[in-house]
Symmetry: C2
Subunit: 414 residues, 2 copies
């Protein structure tokens, strides 16, 4: 029988092998005393199996509260565990409950983090993964050979549909590939979803008729299920090519239902992610997180950016980009680079990842460019040309003097 | 215009008022440079407002990594922020994105935890909250004046539908009020959902015909949306009264769609919760979490238990129970007490909460009772009688000598 494997970073006051056995037990048989009916045959068939333990040494104090008296020390280890797919079948939420369940609450662990997991080949038949991903999103936007350049409508909240459409018109004229709503902007009274789609798609469609280039607008449909599907259909009918979902706020079942519609590229916003990832001994790594959302069919996934305004170190961002572009379910998901990006990070981003398969988002970096939005978009494209040529920021400015303006304006924030 | 208010525990290397302003800014206007269109009028109307700051002193080192050089110290504070409901309307996922968003990733915070939030009266019209809650679940099970006694089918995984039904028959005979699937057991190949419902409901319905008492079985429907709704209907058609959803794995949109069906009491399992709650300076308090799931209409919500097998201290469990029973949207949600419970914790649970409005779950505590499951259920009821009489464990055993058996068997684990 095929198996799902997961790797955890654990920290425990117990001997590591006993802690690993507890983890496996909790996530398969799981009770505190032996009960009738729990036969040896049944245990053999359904028990989670500890596949590998790599001890990582001890620390003197617990990373997380344990509710127990202090131990002499706390062992850290990398532990791999596997389950027969007979335990859950192809059921995404139950896969998550199996990978995580009550593990994070066990007093036997003073730290527990899901690092990664792997699914067997049969999952690729049950879960098609992103329908659009890198290739599909490129096809819908007509962008090849360079990152898609995108931006977020700012201010996040408060513009009317007409004001927003006027801004999209400016951005389309400026040559933008992609525009998204902010995650705070979905269907508020002052900018009703349908009116916003109508106003914006009039602009986008007119621009496409004139130039042949259709800007992808990721309308934020995040909501309860029925309005999400209604708004999705509205975007389809209006000739749109994308929607956005706040993944953590909507959840796996709702998001999967959206991606199953199959007509639009789905932009996955990971707001709330810090809660799951920021403490190094709790939650999960992005390597695991991005697989869950690829199973849910999301086409584009936020990965933060180099020299970002958040806490995350660059090397973590690089690992996230790499994870998105590693094949899974036979495809890839488009990494969305954002957070304080203005172009000057392009050389370092390319140097560290060697890819242009990115959606590169700049907010203020475009709209606040001293020479206007068109100059902002143009600068981003040039920054990426320079990046792919292997130029540093200084060399880029040398070769493309127009970039000096963005360095002067944004260099200190970036 | 009505406002939503949220309270956070923060930790920051910045002056507290500046950090609070950053928090409010990120969750309303949110970009790193001023952009055209962000007028003063618009800021006034849509900006999140810092309502209150209560400084809590400083700590020498950051609770979470900041990705920045060390500061002299880190200020902790309780901060209240409010938003006009004009920012999001009655949109549950977008409310969540507004309350949390990218906050947990900001380098300006070395700790951030959502403590609680409040919604204005108009939300009670848009969100009906739990349809069954305490009163409805009591009505469906016919239990009054004492906690509902429940159990989990164990082993968690591996039993066939017939074996499971045989166990439910034993439990029904034993006088149980409530039975649930484990969170690891949904619709696996060896126990297909429909076959399990058929087998179990034959037993439950026959027992109800004979005795007038219908055991509530919370069938775990956690899955993608279409199978969840299909399985929900299956339970309705089979005469069932409950289903279970793994809340964090399914998500808000999927869960709300389930509760909107309105025919069954929905048991909310919080597996994965430790990830959101275990670090004291990250994630959220249960006070906030339970409100989100009440907005999503969940009727029963796990709160752990006194002297549990997890890390959580008793006082936190008590706060959770109290939160569930505090009116919100004009109703309550039934607190589900579980984890290593065997009856001996009843006196302390009652002493600390003064309520019998609980679903009191015991797994091994029932099935592994030395005199069988019926004795196990009987003992739990007696433990609760003793608890309500104000007896301690020792006094309870004095008054009800049959309780000595459970103390001898489980006293050490409990």
């Amino acid at each position: 029988m095929e198996r799902v494997t997961a790797t955890y970073l654990i920290e425990t006051p117990l001997p590591v092998d006993r802690a690993a056995a507890t983890l496996a037990g909790e996530q398969s048989s799981g009770t505190f005393v032996a009960v009738p009916g729990e036969t040896e045959e049944l245990k053999q068939r359904f028990a989670a199996r500890v596949e590998h333990i790599e001890p990582l040494g001890a620390v003197p104090s617990p990373s997380l509260p344990t509710g127990r008296s202090p131990a002499a020390d706390y062992q850290q280890a990398r532990v791999s565990v596997s389950w027969s797919i007979e335990n859950f079948g192809c059921n995404l939420p139950t896969l998550v409950s199996t990978l995580q369940g009550n593990l994070y609450e066990l007093a036997q662990f003073s730290g527990l983090r899901l690092l990664d997991f792997d699914v067997p080949p049969s999952f690729a038949a049950a879960f098609r993964g992103p329908r659009f991903g890198v290739e599909g999103t490129r096809r819908l936007t007509g962008v090849t050979g360079r990152p898609l350049i995108g931006t977020i409508i700012k201010p996040s909240i408060g513009l009317s549909p007409e004001q927003t459409a006027a801004m999209v018109a400016t951005l389309a004229e400026a040559g933008i590939d992609f525009v998204k709503d902010d995650e705070l902007m979905a269907n508020p009274p002052h900018s009703p979803f349908d009116a916003r789609v109508d106003a914006i798609m009039r602009v986008v469609n007119a621009h496409a008729d004139r130039t042949g280039k259709k800007v992808m607008v990721a309308f934020n449909i995040s909501d309860e299920l029925d309005p999400m599907l209604r708004h999705y259909d509205k975007v389809v009918r209006a000739g749109g090519t994308g929607v956005m979902v706040s993944l953590n706020s909507v959840g796996l079942a709702g998001t999967k239902k959206v991606t199953d519609q199959g007509a639009l590229s789905v932009h996955g916003h990971r707001n709330g992610w810090g809660m799951l990832n920021r403490h190094p001994m709790l939650g999960m790594e992005f390597a695991a997180y991005q697989k869950l959302w690829r199973l849910a069919g999301v086409d584009q996934l936020h990965v933060n950016g180099i020299a970002n305004k958040f806490w995350e170190p660059d090397e973590s961002v690089v690992r996230s980009i790499t994870a998105c572009l590693r094949p899974f379910l036979g495809g890839t998901v488009l990494p969305v680079v954002s957070s304080g990006q203005w172009g000057g990070q392009a050389p370092e981003t390319f140097r560290l990842t060697r890819t242009v398969d990115l959606l590169y988002m700049a907010g203020g970096g475009i709209m606040a460019h001293p020479d206007g939005a068109a100059a902002g978009v143009r600068a981003l494209r040039v920054w990426w040309e320079a990046a792919v040529q292997g130029l540093t920021v200084a060399e880029a400015v040398q070769t493309y003097p127009e970039l000096a303006v963005s360095v002067a304006k944004f260099g200190k924030s970036g």
